[in-house]
Amino acid sequence: MRSACRRPGNRVNIIVCVKQIPDPETPAASFKVDEAAKKVLPAQGIAPVVNPFDPQATEAALRLKEADGGGKVTVISLGPDSARDAIKHALAMGADEGVLLNDPGFEGIDNFQTAAILAKAIQKLGGADLILMGRSAADWDMGVVPAGVGQILGVPVVTVAKAIEKNGNNLKVERVVDDGFQSVEVALPAIVSVSNEFGEPRYPQLRQIMLAAKKTVQVWSAADAGVGADELGAGNRWLPLEALYVPKIESNVEIIEGETPDEKAHNLALKLRAAKLV
């Protein structure tokens, strides 16, 4: 990456990747799948949202920029027209500019194609000192894109960050691991995925929202990003999707009855004891 040989003293240049997904708070009853098309159907009246881990990635970028006394935060999102809202959200938080990767050929692609396309877009932007992403996207929940972009660009990857500190050309990252926390150090350029443990992202203020309306969002097609037709579409997935369905919840629920609430509570306690749960 170009930034690998950037001159010391330059302001930090950060790219944040964000994704728009169906709202994970959607009631299960409103969640529907078109099994033939192997697609999730948009829930009626429930707008898509920014992936819940991504505002933390944007927050991390903004804090690092502020700590550095300036710099640039560019937000990229790959998705449909509506994904512009995910970019706008980051811009309203304080990011500087956005790029929407939007192409009919992106329909039905998998996380591996996504990583390859994002890597090309990042290269076209001239690389960055630091690329931040959410720890995973809450729709497919694969968490493979940071590793993919890192492997393709030859940049080290640190995942599931709860705190990030920049010291000159080095990053110190506190990670969440199986039994606790791990502290690591990595030289820039690097990719870091951010977890919810990072802390609350800032809430866009009205003034910022108005400013964001004036910020530039470029729209790049696959061709603009240098992505060939052989990398597009569900037919070129690395991980073909053979079936997508809503699992039948075998509801074996036993409704505890009783004449009064007290009796219901009594009967539940007896059931719990019988099942050795108490």
């Binding site: 299960a28 929940d141 993919g148 606790g180 502290s183 690591v184």
Partner: protein
């Protein structure tokens, strides 16, 4: 000759349970024609032998100390050498801190894909076919691989490990490869535990937006107090409202728990929440809405206003002693 490579791992020097679970999964695939099972462990030859006793046909001890830090950079050359040596076309890892990083890095290095957090694995037409949850558990996806090498991480506690059989034999070899880590591990620390950690609690009492007010959590804490080893959790909605600390949030963007008993009080069961507790052994739902998703997922449910049930339940559980 196809085969399966299991990336075993240790925890505080001992073989981690996920290693045996992976061997259990690998034996099932082997019986469906996926070839022999080789296990790789960053550890000792004695540990490699133990993996053979638990189902591997051959085991490789990756002896280079650089692997102990668990970085992807250090591991990749050892795993690639093990794939070469074993001829494996299926690589199984645990969905652990190690597997979450190593699985995708290995896949992209080999220009193939990885299926993450798989819950079912089978051989169909000579190739791996996996099932995994997505959309917070609302949907399931069945996946296959386009490239020859098929990498999958497996959800912990999904497959059963096999009992050790000391009469099993197989070749134990050593690989000393390791890569230069670009990420330097400075240190590790255990999660601080004040009281019973949510993730370790045998009983979790959780409340949601349906509680109606912050004060209701006092009642939930009293209920939790009647059980041994119980902790109180909350849905994201309740935490967002400021009713309970975010550290106690259960769900996709919170903690993942799998207690013996999960008591969900006034929680509807959106995928955000289910993603964090669907592994619970038994769920009790207390909810006014009989159609709530949480009620369907429960073993026992009471359809009633929780305010009328919880105080009575506290007394009843106390009586059981």
């Amino acid at each position: 000759m196809p085969g399966i490579l299991v990336i075993a791992q240790t925890s505080e020097g001992a073989i981690a349970p996920i290693s045996y679970e992976l061997l259990g999964a690998a034996r099932q695939l082997s019986s469906q024609g996926a070839g022999s099972v080789t296990a790789l462990i960053a550890g000792t030859e004695a540990q490699a032998k133990d993996l053979i006793a638990h189902g591997a046909d051959a085991a490789i001890a990756a002896s280079n100390a650089a692997l102990q830090a668990g970085t992807v950079d250090a591991y990749l050359p050892a795993v690639e050498a093990a794939i070469q040596q074993s001829g494996a076309d299926i690589v199984l890892l645990g969905q652990t801190s190690l597997g979450r990083d190593l699985g995708p890095a290995l896949a992209f290095k080999l220009k193939t894909a990885v299926g993450m957090d798989c819950v079912e694995l089978k051989i169909a037409g000579g190739r791996l076919r996996a099932t995994r949850g997505c959309y917070g558990g609302n949907a399931r996806a069945e996946i296959t691989w386009k490239s020859a090498i098929q990498v999958a991480t497996v959800k912990p506690k999904t497959f059963d490990g096999l009992a050790a059989d000391a009469s099993r034999s197989g070749a134990v070899t050593t690989i000393d490869s390791a890569g230069d880590a670009r990420v330097k591990v400075l240190g590790v620390s255990k999660a601080e535990s004040s009281g019973i950690k949510l993730e370790d609690a045998e009983v979790v009492v959780s409340g949601g937006r349906g509680l109606g007010d912050e004060g209701a959590f006092k009642m939930l804490e009293q209920l939790a107090g009647t059980f041994k080893g119980a902790a109180v959790g909350a849905s994201r909605a309740a935490c967002d409202l400021g009713w309970y600390p975010p550290s106690q949030q259960v769900g996709l963007t919170g903690k993942t728990v799998s207690p013996n008993l999960y008591i969900a009080i006034a929680i509807s069961g959106a995928s955000q929440h289910m993603a964090g507790m669907s592994g619970s052994k038994a769920i009790v739902a207390i909810n006014k809405d009989a159609d709530a998703n949480m009620v369907k997922a429960a073993k026992f449910a009471i359809i009633e206003d929780y305010k009328k049930i919880v105080p009575a339940l506290i007394e009843e559980i106390k009586k059981l002693g």
